[in-house]
Point group: D2
Chain length 347, copies 4
């Protein structure tokens, strides 16, 4: 059997990263997976060589306009589009097509939360693509629709669900996530110029304005009945890829550092893509760049009785495209780790 895969938004960072991963996927090399239509809007008509020169094996492939007609007929369709575009396309594709949406459109189950943060109509929700959250992997094995998580919610959720789940903390959570600039996507703007971002740090969408906030709340709320409160502060830093998340909350009464460590060790004992570092070591984004890994550390600040969790991911890989391919693997019954690097490109 051959699986044909289309990528909509192939000229953007997420789309190109999906293609980078597919090109080293064992099923691609064995011929069981083929790369079909590559689509985009502004760059339709161009060759891939013009928009993604690193994807040499696809250099001569022509980019088509993103339409349901072009995407139809594939077994898997990755959507890496600006939010608000996925619903219409999905509606026109057959039910048995595996559609993996890297946009925000189908992530939120609460239409009010959607409407508070987004400016397009609420489109509903799809199974959510963090297989490491208890209960999700099973669902992702059978679904034909996947909402790939946002990059910040991925780093934050992997950092925190074990603590919420085991009631280690009061769910009054502060998250500061520092991100590389590729998270802003591949569109021209003055604030994202190299000259504006190199040698500089800047917080943005602070004080509750970032759209990934309700997604973090939704994820963590799965694990507790107490209301989850998240104060989220994203910071832009001068690197291309990577997110370092620092997450903290008051430790629940009587919880010990050992208990904390054991909870995390057990939560991730069998997870191929989450690595709890030895005590005393801190995650470093360099160690996960280009890989689908999340490196984690968890500590108790005994002076202030707070839990501190730090996590490092590659925003374009585990934070987007890697998660998307991981979910494809699950949906297709392939080995979950197929084509997904376990080792970052360090230094």
């Amino acid at each position: 059997m051959t699986v044909s895969v289309a990528v909509a938004g192939a000229s953007g960072y997420a789309g190109a990263e999906i293609l980078r991963l597919l090109l080293s996927h064992p099923s691609y090399h064995s011929g069981e997976l083929t790369i079909g239509a590559l689509t985009a809007h502004a760059s339709a008509g161009q060759r891939m060589a013009e928009v993604a020169p690193h994807l040499v094996p696809l250099a001569d492939r022509r980019i088509e306009e993103t339409t349901a007609t072009v995407l139809a007929g594939h077994d898997v369709v990755f959507l890496a589009l600006p939010h608000g575009h996925s619903a219409q396309i999905a509606a026109q594709l057959a039910d048995d097509v595996v559609i993996i949406d890297c946009g925000a459109d189908f992530r939120l189950r609460d239409s009010q939360a959607w409407e508070q943060f987004y400016d397009t109509d609420y489109a509903g929700s799809w199974p959510y693509g963090i297989p490491e959250m208890p209960g999700h992997r099973e669902q992702l094995r059978t679904t034909r629709r996947v909402a790939v998580p946002g990059c910040f919610p991925t780093g934050a959720t992997l950092a925190l669900w074990p603590a919420v789940n085991a009631s280690l903390i009061t769910a009054d959570i502060q998250i500061v996530s520092i991100t590389g600039v590729s998270g802003a996507g591949k569109k021209a703007s003055v604030p994202m110029l190299g000259a504006e971002t190199m040698g500089s740090l800047k917080a943005y969408n602070t004080a509750g304005k970032h759209r990934h906030t309700p997604e973090m709340v939704q994820n963590l709320q799965e694990f507790t009945d107490q209301p989850v409160v998240v104060s989220f502060t994203p910071v832009l830093a001068p690197l291309a890829r990577g997110i370092l998340t620092t997450a903290q909350a008051p430790l629940a009464a009587g919880v010990t550092p050992d208990q904390v460590r054991q909870t995390y060790a057990q939560a991730y004992a069998d997870e191929p893509f989450v690595h709890l570092l030895p005590a005393g070591e801190q995650p470093q984004t360099q160690h996960v760049v280009g890989s689908n890994m999340c490196h984690l550390q968890v500590e108790v600040n005994t002076q202030t009785n707070r839990l501190l969790v730090t996590s490092a991911i590659d925003n374009l890989c585990k934070g987007t495209a890697g998660a998307a391919v991981q979910c494809m693997n699950l949906a297709l019954g392939m080995p979950e780790t197929a084509g997904l690097p376990l080792v970052g490109v360090a230094p």
Copy 2:
């Protein structure tokens, strides 16, 4: 009258930055301030050209060994030494010498806090060099001894004292500060290599382990009777200079966003080196690099009822050497802003 100035630790980043500022000081250009002995330990005997090629006007000056004998006879002595070395030298200098210590030795008023975080004997405390803290400027005008603040406490204190002072918050404070790599000083080490730090983010001295924590507590405790609790997380980012601090705490009951903004506007209305940005703008470290400025923003997260303050400073300038020169200006009765850039080198 001529003031002669010596710099101990002239080959390090803080010492060289003091010299960069002095070389553009109007009193240096008018001849009222002269640069005398430049000392160091490992690089004693070398010329300045070998250790700080940017300081061209001092290129041929020879570095002497750091001893009280060499430093004696100057009107002002800047100490930019590893902690534990200042007390002995200071004891051998005349009482009327203005000694400005950029190290940690005389910052803490609580000997127990010192002993908890430092490995050398407690040396006492000197007037603390943040003139923008109420009460401090007056003291700094008459003292002959100054403890220059740590870089993180500077960014955090300027971000928070107005809120603590006006009881805008409960003093259960979380601070995440992201710093450039020059903060680690100019000593060879594998973790601080360019290859290890470029394209990477990493938290360090987390969960209460960073030595600047008690200094932050001490500073903020001046403004309230309730116990100040600080959870501090420093993060290393790939830039040479700059600290972006994000500080947050629960808003006190009944405090409004307007009240918050007015408190900060009033606190810094007359401060030449602290700039409260217009609402909606976030500070960016690039805008303060090379300058003695602190750019600030303050907001209320109305979803979580928390105050968020962000501040940007240059760790080597306002965070160390600029503060040192500012304190020298005060101690000598010179204009406080003399020789201190108000504009960062952006982009």
Copy 3:
């Protein structure tokens, strides 16, 4: 007497850098120099705080539309505009206004060279603003019109004119200049995004295509009768500011390394902004960032009998705005170094 200064293009990198320098100019502090109209096109109507937040002392100044009417009445007008706009404005300003054009419009004396490289009408030429080139300083003291050099020609000319002038080399010259990204200006584009430029190197406008090539030839041709040939390769590197130029050519017969060194030492013995490094040291862009300095090294490759000169400048300062202010100082009879940093912001 008070000199009033206007800056056209105040929202761009060159314009803002001129303002940064003027704000620390001693004549500004003494009140002899005032900053008048600030103009731009796309950002007309905005406040300076919105386009250049680092220029705090000008935060509330409103940007006006760039027209001759607005600029008229000032004693000095800096033009920092895209090429093709200066001639028309200059024609409408009074003859005794000092006009300092940071664009390319009046740099080339050869209309054919202009037409080969530029797409607007040839506008003639003005005295050329490298005071360190023999003969130019005198001319710049009396002119009311200055063509500020391009950033690459500045680094290359300072590196090479002494060798050409002293016939140390055959004028078959190869220049590779590596530049920071601010050289591309402050306009939105995908190739200049932080994500595209961080962690990456790329040559551009190679093999004779860069517009600064004829300017380099023109400058060096002043010093020799043999035809000057320049092969110029610019490379984009991940830093905001700085140009490192490597320039080489065959050594003329019989020239010795000592002779080379002496030629350069003499050429720059009295130049405040050009620093020939001690033998064995290489210039580093970090050492000149934010300053008006050019650091130089000159060597002979005795294996291949070639001269190698390396120079480091800040493209926005000595490469543009610093040179502009230096020329203003000369034209106004102020000290040439007034307001121009001699020390870079390192590290």
Copy 4:
């Protein structure tokens, strides 16, 4: 049959990169290739998690002392040691062991060239590991000993051998290569600190002093009888990985741009790791980072009648570890591209 592989110098950048590649090698996944002894000197006794946290699958492996005894018994031994250490170890290993030396020890066939540039005894030469050079691939298929090329010679040789071979140029060659900081290796030093290298550019080992110069001459001399002259200028730039090489030489009489392009197109038509970009595009190091690719462009500067070739490689991958694994694949009769990424991690 199972192949066991040892890596000496496993804690350095080259050794860790070899391991990163082996961990994704299909033969490793199929169990046909096993990773045996990992050795080092200073870090002997530590676990891999301490020195290379990104190599999670090897986290618990203990590093042994680098001795022939420990390395004996493996089918393949990679040596990633400082120069001067390989000969003694190689002498103690069996003749049928595939030894792949990433150091300089066996690269030069001319003992005089060795003695001029290196400070240890000349050790002889081994087959040279650039399979893309005509004649070399065949030799590499049968040898048990491989000298992996230096990173700069790789970028320069791939850029130039087709031109030399086809007599397109006079072999008076100027090479300027700009490199990331990982090329200096993982040893503590002040000049390679992040603070010294970020935001900065600097040439080093200029004017014939760099050890890779004779290796470039040797490689290109294989293709011509005229004496090859190389003037080589390396420049350090603020990125972790990547080398951009600009190479130029006078075009031979009568050679046309078309002829140049065809020569290169033919030279690399069947090479999986060398990609000649479409006309008008320039290679960018970001596009090859993490991969074994060399991206190339070739042009004629018709104004100066010179050939310009630019090439981009990842210094640690195609420049060292990737070439090493490529040579292992050849020596073992595995597919040459096995385990070697064809797509860089961009952006």
